[in-house]
């Protein structure tokens, strides 16, 4: 069976077929014969050539949260979030204009006003979470288009606090 996943912003294709007690897997030109077993709802054991690997995994609606030999991964099924597969550049561009906190927190200080001109590196807003202050700075030259939050507001990590507009020269 064919699977398509997104991991670390890359699309990965994988073919997995049951073959007796084992699974035959093709991926990125590699071929594996693996004995895969569930040890528990959240632990999977993969045996390849007498080597056993333990993968800790939790599935949520967004995707798979995984830890394997100290490395952490977040894997999404590609069909689930078609719109998400956009180029890294495009995504990073959108992020530059939509100012979001990296984590949920409280808006301590908004350092700019709507319509104000801003420069690269200028502090836009200070958000506090877990007793730490985080300054969010602009990465563009332009203007503040719209501010969605007020000082003292609790803000979520995926909702923009303000929207910027880039100066086109």
């Amino acid at each position: 069976m064919e699977y398509e996943f997104i991991v670390d912003n890359e699309l990965k294709k994988l073919n997995m077929e049951q073959q007796g007690q084992s699974h035959s897997i093709h991926m990125d030109g590699h071929e594996y014969l693996a004995d895969i077993k569930s040890l528990s709802p959240h632990i999977i054991s993969i045996s390849i050539k007498d080597r056993m690997y333990k993968i800790f995994i939790v599935r949520s609606k967004e995707g798979f949260h995984i830890q394997c030999q100290g490395d952490s991964y977040f894997i999404q099924e590609s069909d689930q979030d078609e719109g998400e597969i956009q180029s890294s550049e495009e995504k990073s561009r959108k992020d530059m204009l939509n100012i979001k906190p990296t984590m949920p927190g409280k808006v301590i200080k908004i350092q700019v006003n709507e319509k104000e001109e801003i420069k690269v590196g200028q502090t836009l807003v200070i958000v506090e979470a877990m007793k730490m202050e985080n300054e969010i700075k602009s990465s563009i030259n332009g203007t503040v288009k719209k501010i969605f939050a007020a000082e003292g507001d609790l803000v979520d990590s995926d909702k923009p606090i303000m929207e910027l507009e880039e100066k086109t020269e």
Binding site: Y3, L14, S60, I75, A129, M130, E133
Partner: protein, 503 residues
């Protein structure tokens, strides 16, 4: 000894203190905010009292409510842990006034050492070496600008009222001073309720070496040797160890004696820590006294075999120190890693959410002081420390290897953690060599990214995801139930038969 003690804290340290009390036969009262109803410390205590809404200012920092909880529950003593009210003289003097024993220093000594500026004055008088810098606090930015000029850039902004890196900023040029001062003052205000800050000369490439002290109420003082805590990010310790690689017995004795002098000069009692900066020429400077139990106290417990929390409580109950300096020794090597919910790839920004899966390591030489459990929530309101992983081994090299294995066996899914980062730090040649200075992270790991992950672990993870997609049985609860039912149930056959007896 006390019958009942209230713990004015949360998380791993509240759990640690509750354990100590249970072992001493002391009944415990936990306090909690509305965000913490399901937290571990609340579940472990004998009694638990809700003291207000989630924000710390309305719960864990609310003196009146905590005193009232203690009085309602007839607790004879309060242990403040670290952070929150631990170093707040108003709280400890309030306890004294209400006839509740505060497990910590007397409020006068706390007041003195807590005011970093007055403490510096006292030390200078006592002949203890201090870092050049301000000897009083000012109101106006102008005055700070002048002081900074006198001290010479780079300067360090520090909160007058507390430690833990809160409010701390390095300023390397005059034009950054104003913004840094404002931010530092806001952070100090938010963390300690006092916005005073002062300036110190920035010592280049120092090691952070501190001495653990126990002092009873009768003037007996011992030090429990040093901890080196040079590995810091955002001015906050993340890895601590003992012994320090930089000390030999001579320097150790010398610093230990100075540390005891500091305690004596301030009239300090109970457990405390005297912090020093040690420069590369083996000069050491008094930094401050931490007037509380510290996050990293387990490191000292493992090398001395003493239970610092139990000794704190015994001292507070009026017992005499039952040890002499000469009877104490350092055995082996201990290292602590603080496991924070934070993102090392993103400047260690805190993370919050639900712990979806948890595996804690176990085995020889491994200690976990944990404040979490699988399926618990990590709230956004408080310090994001999840747990502490502490290892002990015969020597430093073995301790490093043990820590690397233990970190590998620690699994936390659902929130971001610094686990992979900690492992790389401990595994690095510079750390293994003991070349640890407070700029270690900035110097060696400023561009750290876990994107250097092993491509094979990524392939394995993809296989696991595919397997789970294909094979939903574990996600389908009813099927999981069937599996369980299929297995042998010991309760089915509740003991009618006895071996070798008449059935």
């Amino acid at each position: 000894m006390f019958d009942k003690l209230l713990i004015a804290n949360r998380g791993e340290i509240a759990v640690r203190i509750i354990r100590a009390c249970h072992e001493m036969g002391i009944s415990t009262v936990a306090v909690y905010s509305e965000a913490d109803r399901k937290s571990l410390h609340v579940q472990m205590a004998d009694e638990s009292v809700c003291i207000g809404p989630a924000p710390a200012s309305e719960s864990y920092l609310h003196i009146d409510r905590i005193i009232q909880a203690a009085q309602n529950k007839k607790a004879q003593a309060i242990h403040p842990g670290y952070g929150f009210l631990a170093e707040n003289p108003a709280f400890s003097s309030r306890c004294e006034k209400e006839g509740i024993v505060f497990v910590g220093p007397n409020s006068k000594a706390m007041d003195l050492v807590g005011d970093k500026v007055r403490a510096r004055q006292t030390m200078e008088k006592a002949g203890v070496p201090i870092i050049p810098g301000m000897k009083c606090v000012y109101k106006k930015t102008k005055e700070y600008e002048k002081q900074a000029q006198d001290i010479g850039y780079p300067v360090m902004i520090k909160a007058s009222a507390g430690g833990g890196g809160k409010g701390m900023r390095i300023v390397s040029a005059p034009d950054q001073l104003k913004t840094a001062l404002e931010a530092g003052m806001r952070e100090a205000k938010s963390a300690f309720g006092d916005e005073s800050v002062y300036l110190e000369k920035c010592i280049q490439k120092p090691r952070h070496v501190e001495f653990q002290i126990l002092a009873d109420n009768y003037g007996n003082i011992v030090h429990l040797f040093e901890r080196e805590c040079s590995i810091q990010r955002r001015h906050q310790k993340i890895i601590e160890e003992s012994p320090s690689q930089a000390l030999d017995d001579e320097l150790r004795n010398q610093m230990g004696e100075v540390a005891k002098k500091v305690i004596q000069a301030t009239g300090y009692n109970n457990a405390g820590t005297v912090e020093f900066l040690l420069d590369k020429d083996r000069n050491f400077y008094f930094l401050e006294v931490n007037a509380r139990l510290q996050v990293e106290h387990p490191v000292t417990e493992l090398i001395t075999g003493l239970d610092i929390v139990q000794h704190q409580i015994a001292i507070a109950a009026g017992e005499k120190l039952n040890m002499e300096q000469d009877s104490l020794s350092q055995n082996g090597h201990a290292i602590e890693c603080r496991i924070y919910a934070e993102d090392p790839e993103n400047n260690f920004l805190p993370s919050s959410g639900r712990i979806l899966f948890l595996n804690e390591p176990s085995g020889p030489g491994i200690r976990i002081d944990s404040g979490i459990f699988q399926d618990c929530e990590v709230p956004i309101y408080y310090d994001p420390i999840l747990s502490k992983l502490i290892v002990w081994a015969e020597n430093r090299e073995m301790a490093c290897e043990r820590m690397i294995q233990a970190l590998d066996n620690t699994v936390i899914l659902g929130v971001k953690t610094c686990l992979a980062f900690l492992k790389e730090v401990i595994s690095s040649p510079d750390f293994k060599r003991g070349d640890t200075t407070t700029d270690f992270i900035d110097q060696h790991f400023s561009d750290w990214s876990s994107m250097k992950k092993d491509p094979f672990t990524r392939e394995l993870s993809l296989m696991a995801a595919a397997f789970l997609s294909q094979n939903q049985r574990y996600n389908d609860r009813s099927d999981e139930k069937d599996k369980r039912e299929g297995s042998f149930s010991p309760w089915k056959t509740l003991g009618r038969w006895r071996l070798g007896r008449s059935g």
